[in-house]
Symmetry: C2
Subunit: 165 residues, 2 copies
């Protein structure tokens, strides 16, 4: 592979990416919090999943995905292991996963971000692409959560407010 | 500022970020295409904007934002200059902005990504954060577009299919 000076410009460091991601996770946490308890587990539009189901998907991807990358273990994706019944339970798991994400993310070397990994035994892409997918997928689904909140007559938080005041 | 080996790990290069962003833009283009002409300009949920309005916002941010960064010009944000009346007009502008984005993005040096810039005279952040905002904001709003499509009984494209076949 040939590279030029242009091609090797760094866009962001891993520390900046992690901070950016955790900022997004903090905003998603606030969206979970804003749902009334009942609607979090029951409300949906157009046959889509509830926001509680979406949050469980996000939790099933981030920590377990990074763990697989660090330990080089190809495990199937599963949303079955965590089935919260209350908002409180969901938020507690959200918070404990924050540390899990920090811990595993910081063990990935610069070289490994460029290596291909078969995530959950299904998605064979460079690791940086897998991680960008974790973030984008969260932003995408949280955008759906914003519509649910609006449809419920609740103003969502500002999109650019990533950290609590 | 002290840095450690860990802190200076590169996460992605600028070329990888641009490719990632244009992949997202390609998916957003497909979402615009999937809306029926009438609903693109009229349908909304919970008092939110139509997807045409959202697409105009995205077009008003990306190219003009990068131009401001490259030319170091602080201009106000405006959605008034482009007011498409048809889907075809919107898609043509989407395509022409693809080149505008490539052209300006490739003029930003590694050092400048870390510099602070007062985007649209309002958002004083490091340039890499401004650019991540452009991408995230698009993913966020496109997530809303997916809900609109579902509510209209239309299956949206797969989230992970970023390039046309």
């Amino acid at each position: 592979m040939t590279t030029t000076a242009t091609e090797t410009r760094q866009f962001i460091s891993s520390v900046q990416l992690l901070e950016h991601w955790q900022g997004h996770r903090n905003l998603t946490r606030r969206v979970i919090e804003m749902f009334p308890e009942k609607e979090l587990f029951e409300f949906s539009i157009g046959g889509m999943r509830t926001f509680a189901k979406i949050a469980v998907e996000l939790l099933s991807i981030a920590g377990p995905g990074l763990k697989g990358i660090v330990e080089k273990q190809v495990e199937d994706f599963s949303e079955e292991t965590f089935q919260p019944k209350t908002k409180e339970e969901l938020l507690a798991k959200w918070d404990s996963e924050t540390e899990v994400i920090n811990q595993y993310f910081n063990q990935i070397s610069e070289e490994r971000f460029q290596e291909t990994f078969n995530l959950f035994g299904q998605y064979e892409f460079p690791i940086y692409q897998n991680i960008l997918y974790f973030v984008d997928n969260e932003v995408h689904h949280r955008g759906q959560g914003f519509v649910y909140l609006r449809a419920l007559g609740i103003d969502p938080p500002f999109f650019w407010e990533r950290f609590s005041i």
